[in-house]
């Protein structure tokens, strides 16, 4: 019997009516660099989260010490606490539908087997690439993270399920300086596969961006058409939709999308899919964090709100089936309904055409602070660090230091003019380049 199955049984032995065990073990290579490698760490960590229900009293206890003795102690403790926490009147039961979906492309053996030396060489080459790019630029902060994760889930209704995932992600920040002019260029990339990670390419792009924006400056405040680059809008989508489409928010009445199922919440060019089985997606997995098979769910189809995202708890509350969206930040946290790979589906124009068809506007290439936008009120707000003014269909002057803002629901319902075909991911969020008829730009 495996460790998690044993834990599940021991929790019942101590007097729980239901039990669940979730074990995760992870290996991370973590490399921080600037003009040289500053830190190269190999982290191996693991932990087990145990949940017990005593009737409608439910709780979680976790430990990173994984041996028979500790599991025994943890099982005893979780039941002891469960017996004294207050009842949750909404509680029904743990997930009874464990299993695997047809998901593929979430594990790459070559990531697990990569040699440290090869990783260090790669990073050194990327640093050199920046130094060779131009005398005006230098790397100021970079991070390469390579991970392999094993997850095991079992509960009192099912035997254990197991999966193995890999991930490679990088961020490179480059500074350019010329006289009194200073600028930063930043690039990121996240993938499941080692061969997809081209750190030198990321480094050159960051250097190029820093150089191009050396003399960027703010423009006057105005309202104008805004084109938002794919990965930037992907991040905005993540901030604005992750909470509101989660059944948890809807049931707690915090979501602006509460009570809007089957109604038009966006224009017909706007289709949002949560795809837990997307090949190679950063959150693609055969089962979610309570062992439920993952799936593809239409959230908004041609502007009509079709579905919320569910874990077992919220699904039972609404009398529907879980959409396989249970997610734990880590083994010591309880699962919550949240997106897997959240995708704005592609349109049919290229980003070049979108620019070409814009007489005057702002092409936003990078922002900061977009995560401070308010998903409850729908107020989108971001500080633009990299943008081009578009004049007569051509990107011209580089712009920085302005903010753009708008009402997200008005933006997707009334102002969305064009949707590109260049879908790209920013972690688990995916979007093509999009154009809005108008947003507010606050500048000089």
């Amino acid at each position: 019997m495996s460790l998690v199955e044993k834990a599940v049984r021991r929790i019942l032995d101590f007097g729980a009516s239901e039990s669940e065990a979730y074990l995760q073990s992870e290996k991370i290579l973590w490399i921080e660099f600037d003009e040289k490698i500053e830190c190269f760490k190999v982290i191996e960590s693991s932990g087990i989260g145990l949940r017990a229900a005593v009737g409608k009293r439910v709780t979680l206890y976790s430990t990173s010490v994984i041996d028979d003795g500790s599991i025994e102690d943890a099982a005893e403790k979780v039941v002891k606490i469960a017996k004294i926490v207050p009842e949750d009147p909404e509680w029904r039961h743990f997930n009874m539908d464990l299993g695997k979906s047809s998901a593929e492309g979430y594990y790459d053996k070559s990531v697990e087997e990569i040699e440290h030396k090869r990783v260090a060489e790669n990073v050194k080459l990327a640093i050199q690439k920046i130094k060779d790019y131009n005398v005006k630029v230098k790397p100021v902060r970079g991070l390469l993270m390579i991970s392999t994760t094993k997850t095991f889930v079992a509960n009192c209704y099912s035997e254990e399920f197991e999966m193995r995932e890999t991930g490679v992600s990088a961020v490179v920040r480059v500074k350019a300086e010329e006289g009194q002019w200073k600028s930063i260029g930043s690039e990121h990339f996240e993938t499941r596969f080692w061969k997809m990670m081209d750190l030198e390419e990321i480094a050159s792009k960051a250097a190029e961006k820093a150089l191009k924006f050396l003399k960027a400056k703010p423009i006057e405040s105005c309202r104008m058409p805004i084109i938002i680059r794919n990965d930037v809008f992907a991040s905005i989508l993540g901030t604005m939709l992750s909470g509101p489409i989660s059944a948890d928010w809807v049931q707690k009445n915090r979501s602006p999308l509460s009570g809007k199922l089957k109604t038009q919440v966006a224009c017909d060019k706007f289709t949002i899919v949560d795809n837990g089985i997307l090949y190679g997606g950063m959150r693609t997995r055969p089962f979610d964090d309570e062992g439920h098979p993952t799936q593809k769910t239409y959230v908004i189809k041609e502007g009509v709100l079709e579905n919320y995202l569910y874990d077992t708890y919220t699904a039972l509350k609404d009398d529907v089936k879980s959409t396989g969206n249970a997610s734990r930040g880590s083994y010591w946290l309880p699962p919550q309904a949240s997106p897997s790979n959240l995708i704005l589906e592609a349109g049919d124009v290229s980003s070049e055409e979108i620019v070409k068809e814009t007489r005057r506007g702002l092409l936003v290439e990078d922002v900061i602070g977009e995560w401070l936008s308010n998903p409850v009120s729908g107020n989108v707000n971001a500080t633009v660090t990299h943008a081009y003014l578009i004049e007569d269909g051509e990107p011209t002057t580089p712009v920085k230091g302005v903010t753009v803002s708008g009402d997200f629901y008005k933006m997707i319902l009334e102002d969305l003019e064009m949707v590109g075909k260049d879908v790209r991911n920013n972690n688990q969020y995916h979007s093509p380049t999009v154009k809005f008829r108008e947003m507010i730009v606050a500048g000089k």
Partner: protein, 463 residues
């Protein structure tokens, strides 16, 4: 300890593998917290984690690896990972560092191990304190959290260090939200101590929470002060927060070695009024801190003496880069992180004014209180700060008068320190079991504080 002999053999193996230096850090960490909101238990969370971090130097290159599996096989794999990573970097630029060889076993004072106290008893204290906050119907919301920490750290190195530090901490946090016809105000505060459950048992938490409710009600009925420059009396909480954030970080050796800090190159210069002496040390009321995470004994550092900048805080790396000696300020959040320069207990030394003497010379000013402060922002390169402090009081004709809310203080820390003209004889140092200070993604618990301090000029903005 069986773990100790396993780690010893890992260090021996490291030496045989040709490292110039290696250290291992074993940690065992328990954390428990219980949250009660509006008389209902919301959350009981309990977590245990442990593991080992191994740091090696091979030909001047640093390698690091960690594991939470304590089997011999897994420890050897971690050692090999660390060595392998260092070798992968090739010859490094680090000079050979100067590590201490202390041998010690110390633990913070505690009588009752809070982890062994029954959950029922902990819940009951928290629930009672929460209920006591509802003193009248203007109190709209009350949240109470109790927290306990037990942290064991064992440091061993190839130069012979063997330092074991055990810290036990207990505390309670409470926040009351009050609404009057004027406004809604929340006031949160916590009391923590490096002590066991006896600390919780010895205090009147019902009085603690009801007082915070009174303060929240008072604040909700108060006005905001007119914006302007005021003479202010700053209480120990607020001066502690201000010094830690706006000045303490700037005195951390790593920011000196990269020349990022506003204090770079200023040793020997007068940077504050003569009344000001600032110290970082291991002190009774603060966070228990006899040794750092590099096995270095904590030294008392006089950062500022009678207004003159005397020195910085260092770990072994920043000390070596600036030709100084480590002050025992190398700290890591846990065994998965590498130590960096951090403050321990950072505070201003008391002088000789009584509180009454400080206040009586203020014609018109503000008594700035840290209780209920909600945070702030600093720039260590420029030395600028902005803090939103708690409900405070107007001083008129040398007397404390009405309460004001929404007080935001800001300025340039080096200007502010120069206009301190009187320092009180009291000293309060606080620490916090619920959180700490963040830097480069690592959070560590700290202590801070000082006496009451009079500042001639501080910019105060209403909200």
């Amino acid at each position: 300890m069986e773990i100790e002999s396993n780690l010893y053999s890992i260090l021996e193996k490291a030496e045989r593998s040709g490292v110039s230096y290696a250290d291992v850090r074993y940690q065992e960490h328990y954390y428990e917290s219980i949250l009660v909101e509006n008389k209902v238990l919301r959350n009981y969370s309990s977590r245990k984690f442990s593991g080992v971090g191994i740091r090696v130097f091979v030909e001047g290159a640093l390698g690091y690896a960690s594991t939470c599996n304590m089997s011999r096989e897994s420890l050897i794999r971690a050692l090999n990972n660390a060595i392998n990573v260092a070798r992968a970097l090739g010859k490094g630029g680090e000079k050979s560092l100067d590590f201490e060889t202390n041998r010690a076993e110390v633990r913070s004072n505690f009588k009752v191990d809070p982890i062994n106290v029954s959950p029922e008893e902990k819940i009951s204290v928290t629930l009672d304190a929460n209920k006591s906050a509802f003193i009248e119907d203007r109190v709209k919301n009350a949240a109470t959290r109790i927290g306990f920490l037990k942290d064991l750290r064992l440091f061993m190195s190839t130069v012979g260090a063997n330092v074991k530090v055990e810290t036990v901490m207990s505390g309670l946090w409470h926040q009351s939200v009050a609404k009057s016809s004027m406004a809604m105000e929340k006031v949160g505060y916590s009391e923590s101590k490096c002590a066991g459950f006896e600390f919780i048992a010895s205090r009147d938490w019902n009085g603690f929470s009801s007082n915070l409710s009174k303060l929240a009600i008072e604040a909700s009925e108060a006005r905001t002060p007119p914006a302007g420059t005021y003479m202010v009396i700053v209480d120990p909480d607020a001066i502690g927060l201000l010094l830690h954030e706006a000045f303490g970080h700037a005195s951390e050796g790593d920011l000196i070695s990269t020349r990022e800090s506003v204090l770079f190159g200023k040793v020997g210069e007068k940077i504050a009024s003569e009344e000001v002496t600032i110290v970082d040390d291991n002190v009774e009321d603060g966070y228990f801190y006899p040794y750092d995470d590099e096995g270095t004994a904590k030294r008392r550092v006089v950062v500022v003496e009678d207004g003159v900048l005397r020195g910085y805080l260092h770990d072994t790396s920043s000390a070596s880069k600036t030709n100084a000696q480590s002050t025992g300020n190398g700290r890591a959040q846990d065994f998965e992180n590498i130590p960096i320069v951090r403050q321990a207990n950072y505070f201003m030394q008391p002088k000789d004014y009584s509180f009454e003497e400080l206040v009586e010379d203020v014609d018109y000013g503000i008594y700035v209180s840290g209780k209920g402060a909600t945070g702030g922002q600093v720039d260590v390169g420029m030395g600028t700060f902005t803090f939103s402090v708690g409900p405070s009081k107007i001083i008129r004709g040398g007397k404390l008068e009405e309460t004001v809310r929404g007080v935001v203080v800001s300025g340039l820390i080096l200007d502010t320190l120069k206009t301190i003209d009187a320092v009180g004889k009291d000293l309060t140092i606080r620490t916090n079991v619920f959180g700490g200070c963040g830097k480069m993604g690592q959070t560590v618990r700290v202590g801070f504080g000082g006496p009451h301090v009079r500042v001639q000029k501080m910019i105060v903005g209403g909200r």
